[in-house]
Symmetry: C2
Subunit: 256 residues, 2 copies
């Protein structure tokens, strides 16, 4: 049975998609079978892995959540052998209204992923909100990985996110826990970056990954080529950051 | 009667709040009476203007939209004479469910702002989504100002936003038009920044402000002091960027 990890933070632009795409690819390079589920109607993780959203005619997550098809029909191969993708589409924006009045509407994704087999890890990329889609992801997951930009507004939103995690754990998903906090766009020359990082490490201690992802323009260039950083520029500091994170993530799994 | 402008883009972290706070403050320095409405449950614009969300016990936007109080009870003074704020609060996250089944649920904000007098301009800071709150802002506004980060994912989301604007214009608000597109976090040394800016200017022509906001760490430091950039570091490149934008914005109003 796969371990399911959602990558979530309601603050926008903190590096959720960049982490989802590159961590999933890095883990798949360790001979683990990985599925990336794109739960954001922006479908950034989908285009970040090379699918052209305007032209693609295949099934996607909207069809799976409304029960039109099973997940295996929507799952796609990627250029990485051990990495598969369940793509999103802008139509997903309509799902909240569609499932709002259903029984157990927070379990639509959980029920769909129960039918998925043959993966060691499933990562879920979330939209920048704490609405019904993110609630579905939190309910379906074993744990949450929180990307945190080293900036003031991002730090402010953390307490709201932690409260939401506690609420979901109490009400919908008792196994949910924090997998880890990842410092993103870290620039050691900036005082603000350094101050936010120190505050987060003091408060969350060993929950914060030792590997911080540096600000590196190669990470923001790679999505325009539809490739993870390891294919676009494997020697970049961004690639090194996510390779180190993957090692640290897998070591934590082994320790249990 | 005030001109109402919403600052919106469903892509996260593109500089909506930073633009809302600093453009509203810059316009108020031109002896215009300005109201900033914070429509985001993250309440970043509220804390960016110095209100401590954990401790504040006053009325806020949730109370106004549910009809508990009129807007004037919730509107606060700021340290800038001509700038007032209608604050947000994390409770606002519950509004979508609260008003979902109401008649004309997309007009709650419009009906509230009709009762607001004595302002020349009203700016609305939106959350990173195209849900019911942003729909309310688009329906209440005369125009939309679109902050656009000079990155690939931000560019990708633009067509979805433009389609949504056309839909709202056709269905709910015939006067809605694009006030302008603002290039944010622009770094002229980066090829990606330059390429995105060129593509946007080619496509949207004179709708794109000549003033681009440079990436400037002072802009991300000022919210931690609860002050607009002009109070925190008036000689910074970030302050210069928003002063130039305010001049360009007001010149466009005069030309009509
Ligand atoms: N370490 C980094 N260095 C430089 N740029 C980065 C880094 N991480 C992400 N970016 C860029 O910053 C922007 C925001 O990142 P990303 O889109 O991954 O965040 P997100 O949290 O998924 O955003 P949203 O809230 O809209 O879903 C993107 O343009 C991305 O390419
Ligand atoms: N020109 C700039 N230079 C440097 N940092 C900036 C600039 N503009 C914004 N920032 C910083 O980038 C981050 C994102 O900006 P901001 O929060 O204003 O975006 P937003 O679109 O409002 O985000 P959200 O989608 O979460 O509402 C913030 O930490 C902010 O301080
Ligand atoms: Mg994303
Ligand atoms: Mg904001």
């Amino acid at each position: 049975k796969a371990k399911i990890i959602c990558i979530a933070n309601q603050k926008g632009g903190v590096g959720k998609t960049t982490t989802a795409v590159n961590l999933a690819a890095a883990i798949s390079m360790h001979k683990k079978r990985v599925l990336l589920v794109d739960c954001d109607a922006q479908a950034n993780a989908t285009s970040g892995l090379g699918i052209n959203i305007q032209e693609d005619k295949g099934w996607h997550l909207y069809h799976v959540l409304t029960g039109m098809v099973g997940p295996s029909k929507a799952i796609r191969k990627t250029e990485f052998n051990n990495l598969h993708l369940l793509p999103s589409h802008p139509e997903l924006a309509g799902i909240e209204v569609e499932i709002a009045n259903r029984e157990k509407r927070e379990e639509c994704l959980k029920r769909a992923l129960v039918r998925v087999e043959d993966f060691d890890y499933i990562f879920i990329d979330c939209p920048p909100s704490l609405g019904l889609i993110t609630l579905n992801a939190l309910t379906a997951s074993d744990s949450i990985l929180i990307p945190l930009q080293c900036e003031y507004y991002a730090l402010e939103g953390l307490s709201q996110l932690v409260q939401t995690i506690k609420l979901v754990k109490r009400t919908y998903n008792p196994k949910l826990h924090i997998e880890g906090l990842l410092l993103t766009m870290y620039d050691s020359r900036m005082r603000l970056s350094y101050q936010v990082a120190r505050e987060v490490r003091t408060h969350f201690r060993e929950l914060v990954y030792r590997s911080a992802i540096p600000r590196n323009v190669r990470l923001s260039e790679s999505p325009s080529h539809g490739k993870p950083i390891f294919e676009y520029d494997p020697r970049s500091r961004g690639a090194e950051g996510y390779l180190a994170l993957a090692k640290e993530f897998l070591n934590k799994q082994r320790r249990g």
